[in-house]
Symmetry: C2
Subunit: 238 residues, 2 copies
């Protein structure tokens, strides 16, 4: 599978990889990271390739398994940030504080990086590296939840799957509201945290998005779902 196949006698040991190849590979990864961050993982591969200044074939040469592989390799770093956040939260002495800051942190990370939002809401069955990170993060989350429950401030019937629910809900809200209603996601997260707290204290919410912002977001959703009419992308020829 590797480039340097063994068996050939050591005398003919040629150069390992050409420098332009490695440079292209890094360029693709960097561009993918940047574009995925602002637009999510639904971007066409050709967009990535063109933005990186390479042809589509080069992209496939470096990521033969196609889109899934590129997404995985471009987002491992982000996935690790997710794992790091969980471990950092575990280090926090106060279990409840650790839990709430963790949830706020990962949801803010989703807002900063739509690709991560997508990644956290889906499973890449063929990428062992990302899935290993996810498993470790899941384990950390379970610990985190137990610690928070031990303080008595997280409701007993909270389940690890509820965390996934919030990640999915937040990802969806972000995908729709994007920059049209930046207040939406923090508001959702704050609501969620107050729902899972045993303490009754009603803490103030972040400002709500305006009606215009929500309308704008919902119009865009219709457009991206193929139900556009007015200023949509393409219009009938003649």
């Amino acid at each position: 599978m590797e480039a340097r196949t063994v068996g050939a006698d050591a005398a003919t040991r040629t150069r390992r990889t050409r420098v332009d190849a490695e440079r292209n590979r890094q360029r693709i990864l960097r561009v993918a990271r940047d574009l995925y961050a602002t637009a999510g993982v639904d971007l066409p591969l050709e967009t990535i390739a063109r933005s990186a200044g390479v042809g589509i074939a080069t992209l496939y040469r470096h990521f033969p398994r196609g889109k899934e592989q590129l997404v995985a390799e471009a987002l491992v770093e982000q996935a690790s940030r997710y794992l790091d956040a969980a471990r950092r939260a575990l280090a926090e002495p106060d279990g409840w504080v650790g839990f709430t800051t963790f949830v706020e942190e990962i949801c803010a990370m989703q807002a900063d990086h739509l690709g991560l939002a997508d990644l956290l809401a889906m499973v890449l069955p063929a990428d062992e590296q990302v899935e290993a990170i996810r498993r470790q993060a899941n384990d950390a989350c379970v610990e985190l939840i137990d610690k928070a429950k031990a303080t008595g401030e997280l409701r007993e019937d909270f389940a690890g799957e509820d965390l996934l629910l919030v990640l999915m809900a937040n990802a969806a809200v972000l995908q729709v509201t994007r920059d049209a209603a930046p207040n939406a996601s923090p508001r959702l997260v704050s609501l969620f945290l107050q729902a899972v707290a045993t303490r009754a204290a009603i803490t103030p919410l972040p400002a709500a998005p305006s009606s215009e912002q929500m309308r704008e977001a919902m119009v865009r959703l219709a457009g991206s779902r193929g139900c556009a009419a007015g200023g949509g992308p393409v219009r009938a020829p003649g």
Copy 2:
């Protein structure tokens, strides 16, 4: 624009519409309603046409503005059910009970009809009928929220836009979990309602989805997002 163009002398006043045309129109609408209910509005128009036993051209003849028009006409009835639910909730004497049952009811309606879930989370700018219903429903929701706040059981800083947020979050969760994790949506809704209540009482949640259910749902999401690998739809030829 109308079929019966004036100007021709009244003697040649022919029949209005052929019966098979009207029959086809109703067939298309019925099929669209059924399929949208179980699969959401992302279905290809050709699927609708084939299931209705008509050609794609017939569909376009009856719905010249394409997908948006079909979606709108197929879902007006569902939109009206949404409006009805809001008005029924307003008739409920207890403002808080009216509010909570309304939220639970519309989220359950979303679960029963994925097309409605999609519709409530987007805006069809070109369809006056659906948008009119939406406006009326919005007005009713505002009243409903005010009534619930008046009882002191709905937090004062709750905004109408929060309702949209829940609709969007619920739609997204439903789209992903579908039948893989039917518990997910009620759980999310229950969490949300407890977040917006001033009363501290921790009421029990519906059962959480299992890890396997959530994993299954997330794998499917990856598949539908073009990040599939194993048993995906199409595979490379040779």
